[in-house]
């Protein structure tokens, strides 16, 4: 159990998707459901994460050439992995600090899950609504994401 949470932020800088993995009995459907219900609560946390990531990213871009991106940072307790698409969609993992970079996994999630299930969804809007207004409301995306992350060797 080394992956703690996953977030997506839209180009409007709003958190549009959040998913957390709880350590206890993580396969039961109830855990999944209770997570769904809790998702809207830790709003402040989401804003704080975004603040940090946004500033770091801008700082990195200022120091080096435009193409540069920061990929992760590590504290003594956790590691944050970051991936941004050219359309300014930001995907974030929060994991155990000992894990190798998951940027390529984030990229994979974007290409195989986000594009397939969210972008190709008939009700897709180019800026998904913020989490308070429901966020990315696509159950199949959440379920496949959950399943996909559980298959990762580091999970």
């Amino acid at each position: 159990m080394t992956i703690y949470a996953f977030y997506i932020y839209s180009r409007k800088c709003e958190c549009v998707f959040a998913h957390r993995w709880k350590p206890s009995d993580r396969n039961s459907m109830e855990t999944l459901v209770s997570q769904l219900e809790q998702n809207s609560i830790e709003d402040d946390m989401e804003k704080l994460i975004f603040g940090v990531v946004f500033s770091l990213r801008n700082m990195v871009k200022k120091i080096t050439a435009d193409q540069d991106q920061f990929m992760s940072y590590t504290t003594s307790k956790y590691k944050l992995h970051f991936y941004e698409t050219p359309t300014n969609l930001r995907l974030i993992f929060i994991t155990n600090p000992k894990i190798d970079s998951l940027t390529h996994v984030l990229q994979q999630i974007y290409t195989t899950l986000y594009v397939e299930f969210v972008v190709k969804h008939p009700l897709y809007t180019h800026v998904p609504p913020s989490a308070e207004e429901g966020g990315i409301n696509c159950e199949i995306f959440r379920i496949t994401l959950d399943r996909f992350v559980r298959t990762l060797s580091c999970f």
Partner: protein
């Protein structure tokens, strides 16, 4: 690796639909629109439909090609022509007359697949831009990449012109959104 080569490679990998089915479907959409409204409105409507396609298509494009951000608008133009068009429509327009400031380019689409089997009625020849949906797609896709562009048809073989040309002009680079309450 050159851009055309990458376009070619990605094109080989993606799922395809029957070209005739696609072209005829598009044809019937345009025909229906022409029945429903006047030609100026049809142009507008096609552009709007294209825009809605473009804002999604760009994500699909990025997923398929893992394309990095282009350094300047000139490179964007080349990418649109050699990779974008190739991947989705299997042809590459020729890119020409890039303006000195690099903010305008013209795409020549002489083998535009949308226009296959098409003949415009005489009264539509002056007004209808049959493939106007392409302009919308370009506009929508580039807007998602922070580029506010104008894309318009200059000429069309269907109207009796020598070439089919789209002009794309960069109006401005959109500012990135910043979080509320942040400077």
């Amino acid at each position: 690796m050159s851009k055309s080569k990458i376009g070619e490679d990605v094109y080989k990998k993606v799922d395809k639909v029957n070209a005739e089915l696609f072209v005829l479907t598009y044809g019937s959409i345009v025909a229906q629109l022409c029945k429903d409204m006047n030609y100026e409105k049809v142009n507008e409507e096609l552009d709007k439909m294209g825009y809605n396609i473009g804002i999604r298509l760009i994500e699909d494009f990025l997923a398929k090609t893992e394309w990095p951000r282009c350094a300047d608008f000139r490179e964007t133009g080349e990418t649109v022509a050699k990779v974008g068009f190739k991947v989705f429509l299997n042809f590459s327009p020729i890119i020409s007359s890039v303006s000195d400031d690099g903010n305008t380019f013209v795409l020549t689409l002489d083998d535009n697949p949308l226009a296959e089997f098409v003949e415009l009625p005489a009264d539509a020849r002056q007004k209808l831009w049959y493939s106007n949906i392409l302009c919308g797609v370009i506009r929508g896709a580039l807007e998602m990449l922070q580029m506010d562009v104008d894309a318009v048809f200059l000429r069309d073989i269907l109207r009796g012109d020598e070439h089919t040309e789209i002009r794309v002009h960069l109006k401005r680079i959109l500012k990135e959104e910043i979080p509320p309450g942040d400077e």
